[in-house]
């Protein structure tokens, strides 16, 4: 519980710190006011650049944390990562194919669609190889 509270406070502090850092010259209170009220250039900077950036960082961090926890818990290995079972490589292949065929340009969300579906394919192939009675050990070896 104590750890959770500490981490949440740290996350909030870093979020605010991220909002107040950037190339544009503005002090803390100026940038925070501009976030809500600014309709000049600083408002644009805060709402279109810094806020999306900070939120994206939290979302990416959260999803990485969740998938890491799931993999490491299942494989009983604190060093496990998606590369171990070939998911990242397969997703990268999907992304490259999407970029080269023009799928990424002409289809909305084409790039994420391609990489996620290739990652899913990798997982399915893996499950197929591991067999119906596969333990986590056979999964790694497959």
């Amino acid at each position: 519980m104590k750890l959770k509270v500490t981490l949440t406070i740290l996350l909030t502090a870093l979020f605010i710190f991220s909002l107040s850092t950037g190339h544009a010259v503005a002090n803390f209170s100026q940038s925070m006011t501009a976030l809500y009220l600014g309709d000049g250039p600083l408002g644009t900077v805060m709402r279109e650049i810094r806020l999306p950036r900070a939120m994206l960082a939290i979302l990416v961090g959260a999803s990485l944390g969740v998938s890491g926890a799931a993999l490491q818990g299942y494989l009983r290995n604190p060093l496990a990562e998606p590369g171990l079972i070939g998911v990242s490589g397969s997703a990268a292949l999907g992304a490259v194919i999407a970029l080269h065929t023009g799928f990424a340009t002409y289809v909305w969300m084409g790039l994420p669609i391609a990489s996620f579906s290739f990652a899913t394919i990798a997982v399915l192939v893996l499950l197929l190889l591991a067999g119906p009675r596969g333990s986590s050990l056979t999964l790694i070896l497959a």
């Binding site: 190339h23 544009a24 644009t44 900077v45 279109e48 650049i49 810094r50 023009g102």
Partner: protein, 279 residues
């Protein structure tokens, strides 16, 4: 209307020059040339006789890099390899100062005269390059006429500018160029002030998006994008740029210091408040 007449007279001068030039060149020594650089390609096409051009560089027909891509298609193209060029037996090779050192050295050791051209980024350098090309090709009169036309048209374009709207050049990956570059010069000649100098960028460098927004330029000038998707060009579609006036203008005419920058200036001036009334 006036503009069209002016343009037409420009073309007529070119044509007259062309036919007149070919008739006298028989007496003057006229070296045959291979060009290895997209900018010297254009000088060659502007000043040389057809028979003097053996071969042009590979990208001379690329519409995104070469201002004379259509004209270039009727000439042979080389891949800038020393072996290939030697077999073409040129009297002279035109190269840029940054053309592959190994190739240039090899050609020189084979006793082929290589003329290295500095990329021109100012009007004076452009004129010097035209003069030099004319002298090398034995067409000084042609070069003189080209320079006179260039100067008078430039004077016409740069006259009558009272206000200098603030503009930013903004390319893929957030790159911008300052007043010491050709693009910066074109911007200045067209009657805009460059915000790059306000953030201390005088040559080229990355302009952070935040600084671009904060400096509130009157217009943001971007390049013609390549087909397909590219992560480096995504930044030009950033929602933060929405409040600004975005113009996609830089193209092949901005690449080389040749008289084609006049076209670049003309295109840019279609959005200049002091010049819009003429159009």
């Amino acid at each position: 209307m006036r503009v069209y007449v002016r343009r037409f007279s420009f073309v007529a001068i070119y044509l007259a020059l062309y036919f007149f030039g070919t008739s006298i060149s028989a007496t003057a020594p006229s070296p045959k040339v291979v060009s290895l650089n997209v900018c010297t390609d254009q000088f060659l096409m502007l000043l040389a006789d057809d028979s003097q051009i053996i071969s042009l560089s590979e990208i001379s027909t690329d519409i995104l890099s070469s201002a004379m891509a259509a004209e270039a298609s009727k000439y042979h193209q080389n891949n800038s390899g020393a072996e290939e060029i030697y077999l073409l037996q040129p009297d002279m090779v035109f190269a840029g100062i940054y053309t592959a050192k190994a190739t240039v050295n090899m050609l020189e050791s084979l006793n082929i005269r290589v003329e290295k051209f500095e990329p021109a980024s100012t009007v004076d350098q452009i004129i010097l390059n035209m003069q030099r090309t004319g002298e090398l090709l034995g067409h000084t009169d042609r070069a003189k006429l080209l320079i006179t036309n260039f100067e008078s048209r430039l004077a016409e374009l740069t006259s009558g500018i009272k206000n200098k709207p603030r503009a930013a050049l903004y390319y893929a990956n957030g790159y911008t160029t300052g007043e010491n570059t050709l693009a910066g010069q074109i911007l200045d000649l067209a009657g805009f002030s460059n915000i790059a100098s306000e953030v201390d960028i005088h040559w080229g460098g990355t302009l952070p998006l935040e600084l671009l927004i904060m400096s509130k330029p009157d217009v943001v000038i971007t390049g013609t994008t390549y087909p397909g998707s590219s992560r480096s060009e995504e930044i030009l579609k950033h929602p933060a740029l929405k409040p600004l006036q975005l113009v996609s203008s830089t193209d092949a005419n901005w690449v080389c210091g040749t008289p084609h920058i006049l076209k670049a200036i003309e295109d840019l001036q279609t959005i200049h408040p002091d010049k819009m009334s003429i159009k």
